[in-house]
């Protein structure tokens, strides 16, 4: 399956995607000055997502992973750059095309206790996408499709769940319900934003297997957002590592984990927990916090925390280039 997705006909290709936010200033300072500072949450991204591929966006919190996912789905307006969906420039999407896109691309959030409306029953949660997109009016057909989506999401005897409310389900069931709500529209693409990080370890494997099975059976592509590199390695075909709104390294999952190029990736990989090896000797522990995206460091944005930083790094921004075959990185010394 691997590596063949990224060839000529990608599902999504992202070119120079930028999302800037006006930093929120207080009420009184906004009266005094008109100057607003910008948070560069996503600062020029380039990548492609193949059909049936699982691409992981990995990085610390604040690196812009979630913003990237939302911008691709047009849940927030990008500041600049282009996203091509099935070859079409999404900047040219009008209202009706965007409505159609909403059926083709879906999102699953981290916390199933927040991503489901507490006042909607299981049935109405899953049926709503069908209704708002005017896909079916017939009651029994609607029930059929809702039941089908619930079964696809691994919830057996779905009709018994129809009238339940989210608070009556377990965490794993709720996440499966959220997945069913996405599946009912038969999407080609799902953004999964940390879909298992709020779940118990015992439930995680089941949800991850479900997602991989859906890829294999239905050819759904995923942009899988996670901060957990070991999870990224397990599930994805390729991994893109983000730092402060930019991709610092992108390659096949094995390449990125086994032969990381960028010092940041090396540091992250070195602290992946391995059973029975508890010593921290020989591991690169990053110092300090991710800088404020309002004030992105000059030159290479990683240099203040980089263990291999040279004087050049604070002056010159490294070029993002193909270092080895299909393995990209942005560092002067790779």
């Amino acid at each position: 399956m691997k590596n063949e997705h990224t060839e000529n006909n990608p599902l999504i290709s992202v070119r120079g995607l930028e999302v800037y936010f006006a930093a929120r200033s207080g009420f009184f300072s906004s009266l005094v000055s008109r100057k607003t500072s910008m948070v560069r949450a996503v600062d020029g991204l380039d990548f492609e997502l193949g059909r049936g591929e699982i691409l992981c966006l990995a990085g610390e919190s604040g690196s812009g992973k979630t913003t990237t996912g939302k911008a691709i789905l047009r849940l927030l307006e990008p500041t600049g750059g282009e996203v091509f969906f099935k070859g079409e420039d999404m900047n040219t999407f009008n209202r009706s095309r965007l409505r159609r896109f909403r059926q083709e691309a879906q999102i699953i959030f981290q916390d199933p206790f927040e991503s489901l409306n507490p006042r909607q029953t299981v049935f109405s949660t899953v049926a709503e996408p069908l209704e708002v997109n005017h896909l079916t009016r017939d009651r029994s057909e609607k029930e059929e499709r809702v039941a089908e989506a619930l079964v696809d999401a691994g919830l057996n005897n779905p009709r018994e769940l129809f009238m339940r409310y989210p608070h009556e389900l377990s965490g794993g069931q709720r996440q499966r319900l959220a997945i069913a709500g996405a599946l009912v529209l038969k999407p080609d693409f799902i953004v999964a934003d940390e879909p298992v990080s709020m779940l118990d370890l015992s439930i995680r494997a089941g949800i991850l297997k479900l997602m991989v099975d859906l890829r294999d059976d239905k050819g759904i592509s995923y942009l899988f957002i996670t901060h957990d590199l070991s999870l990224a390695w397990l599930i994805s075909d390729r991994i893109a590592v983000m730092y402060l709104g930019k991709i610092v390294e992108l390659g096949s999952a094995d390449d990125v984990i086994k032969t990381p190029l960028h010092p940041y990736t090396k540091a992250l990989v070195s602290v992946i927990p391995v059973p029975k090896r508890v010593s921290l000797i020989g591991k690169t522990l990053l110092e300090g916090e991710t800088p404020d995206p309002v004030n992105i460091p000059s030159g290479c944005r990683f240099h203040p925390r980089c263990p291999e930083a040279q004087p050049r790094c604070s002056l010159e921004e490294p070029v993002y280039r193909e270092v080895n075959l299909k393995h990209f990185g942005a560092c002067h010394f790779i």
């Binding site: 849940l75 991503s115 709503e128 708002v132 009556e168 709500g181």
Partner: protein, 323 residues
């Protein structure tokens, strides 16, 4: 839990609350300084013997516990006592004033809820824009102004300087009207100032609560999920955001009823509105214990009743409450 068990439990809770309030009302007013008989007689040179006889007549010579027992016994037979001041049954006096207050409070509350919720939704939807900032500032100002002060200012502007509305009262005493419509127009003119003043006082709070509640809901992931599924802006607001955001507002409305009565005292006093608020004010200055007790009992039952209704409404609005 099933509905009947829930109702029964809530009802028993309400009864206990009412009993505690009855107990507190009785002793609270008697701790107040001042002698009701002195206020009643208004004659500083009354003989000690005559004073004693009046005290006996009103049962004020018994010990407080015995007085309480008599009060309780009469209460259960539907007798709220006799007013010291009016020499009439308290129940009759209170009931006579109820329509005026219900008219004033009811109209002002309904008006302020509708306008407040509407404005709150608009400000939340237009968050950060000029209209939001201006509206928010006005709501805060309205919310912080003292009720009696707003009432006096309104009287000054509309009744004294411009003289477009009457100073107070509920109608011209002894007036005859040529038709029903003329009478209604006159009534509305008398009602206008106190109702608008009261509504203004209440609106600020509803705007603030509705706005912040809606903003909180709009940040929830299920709002983004809904957008991703193609739900339109309008349906996101009406089907997803509003029902969830209404929960705190319903609670506020119920809890507010007690404070609304407090506001009614000030409004009715300033506008000479012949309702329960003004009755309470005069009963307080006259140390008319039976009327005060009757009023407090009435208000307590109204507030507890409103909270009971809010609980029921909550069960309808929020499926999580059911289990």
């Amino acid at each position: 839990m099933n509905m009947r068990g829930y109702l029964l439990r809530k009802f028993i809770q309400a009864l206990i609350t009412v009993f505690i309030v009855i107990f507190m009302n009785f002793f609270l007013f008697r701790i107040m300084p001042g002698d009701p008989i002195r206020v009643l007689i208004r004659n500083p040179r009354i003989s000690a013997g005559a004073l004693e006889r009046v005290r006996d007549q009103f049962g004020l010579n018994e010990s407080r516990l015995v007085q309480f027992w008599i009060y309780l016994r009469d209460l259960f037979s539907g007798d709220l006592g006799t007013s010291f001041n009016y020499r009439q049954p308290v129940l009759d006096i209170v009931m006579e004033r109820v329509p005026a207050t219900v008219l004033l409070i009811g109209t002002a509350t309904v008006l302020s809820i509708i306008i407040g919720v509407l404005l709150g939704v608009i400000f939340a939807w237009k968050r950060g824009t000029r209209i939001d900032i201006i509206g928010l500032s006005f709501s805060l100002i309205l919310y912080s102004m003292p009720t009696f002060w707003v009432a006096i200012i309104m009287v000054m502007i509309f009744a004294v300087y411009w003289q477009i509305f009457p100073l107070g009262g509920m109608g011209m005493p002894g007036a005859f009207y040529s038709s029903y419509w003329v009478e209604l127009a006159s009534q509305l003119r008398y009602m206008f100032l106190p109702t608008i003043t009261f509504a203004l006082i209440l609106i600020g709070e509803y705007v603030l609560i509705m706005r912040s509640s809606l903003l909180e809901v709009m940040r929830e992931d299920y709002m983004l999920t809904a957008r991703a599924k193609g739900v339109t802006n309008r349906n996101m607001l009406f089907r997803h955001a509003m029902p969830n955001a209404m929960l705190p507002v319903v609670t506020l409305i119920a809890i507010n009823l007690g404070f609304i009565v407090g506001g009614a005292i000030q409004i009715e006093t300033v506008f000479s509105w012949p309702g329960l608020g003004r009755l309470m004010y005069s009963a307080l200055t006259n140390r008319d214990y039976p009327v005060l007790q009757g009023l407090f009992l009435f208000i307590t039952i109204a507030v507890i009743g409103a909270n009971f209704c809010a609980d029921l409404l909550y069960r309808y609005l929020d499926p999580r409450v059911k289990s």
